[in-house]
Amino acid sequence: MSMLHTVNKSPFEKDSMNSCLRLSADGSSILLIEDGVFAAQEGTVVSDSVKEAMKSKKVYALQEDINARGVQGKVMDGIELVDYAGFVKLVTEHDKVQSWV
């Protein structure tokens, strides 16, 4: 069992995503929700750091929050999109959840 990290702040506005990437262990999972989903976008100033993290961590993003913000179709390869049921499933599959609020 590993940890699930959730990030709900925009990576362009707050440092939460960077802190999460720095302080999450290899093999852990990161779920992007709310304004955190902007980190899932291709071609941004943070895309490279997210791609680097994806070499050792699994990154998910909540489809509903992606759709609300109009960035469907801009999600980078390798990020798995989940719905609310998938969010719950991730929580049950990990032994702890850390929210980078």
Partner: protein, 135 residues
Amino acid sequence: MSVTKKFLYVNRRAPYGTIYAWESLEVVLIGAAFEQDVALAFVDDGVYQLAKGQDTKGIGMKNFSPTYSALGDYDINKIYVEKESLEARGLTLEDLQHLVWEDEDEDWAEKDSIQVVTSAELADLMEQQDVVLSF
């Protein structure tokens, strides 16, 4: 006699995650009734407010993005989007809604409302305002 002032609304937050974007739009529409010289700037995550294709069904919140297309009818036709903010987010003008207004001095010709401006240009625009409201 009323004096017309130049108002600039500066929008820096993404929609939905916080209430800022929605509140700004409400204030802009209320302000429009006072016949002031109104302009809107979208910088930082504020550029996402104008993103095309917003679909909020899944999050149970009102999609207020169609309201931006009504701004032209309120004589709000100066909408500045910072180029550097778009670029940092991998976005272009094509990713934003196409907002237009009708120019009554030119037989109601349809014109673009959005102008992409550089940081330096936006800094100058801010200097020219009488009132700047931040959201």
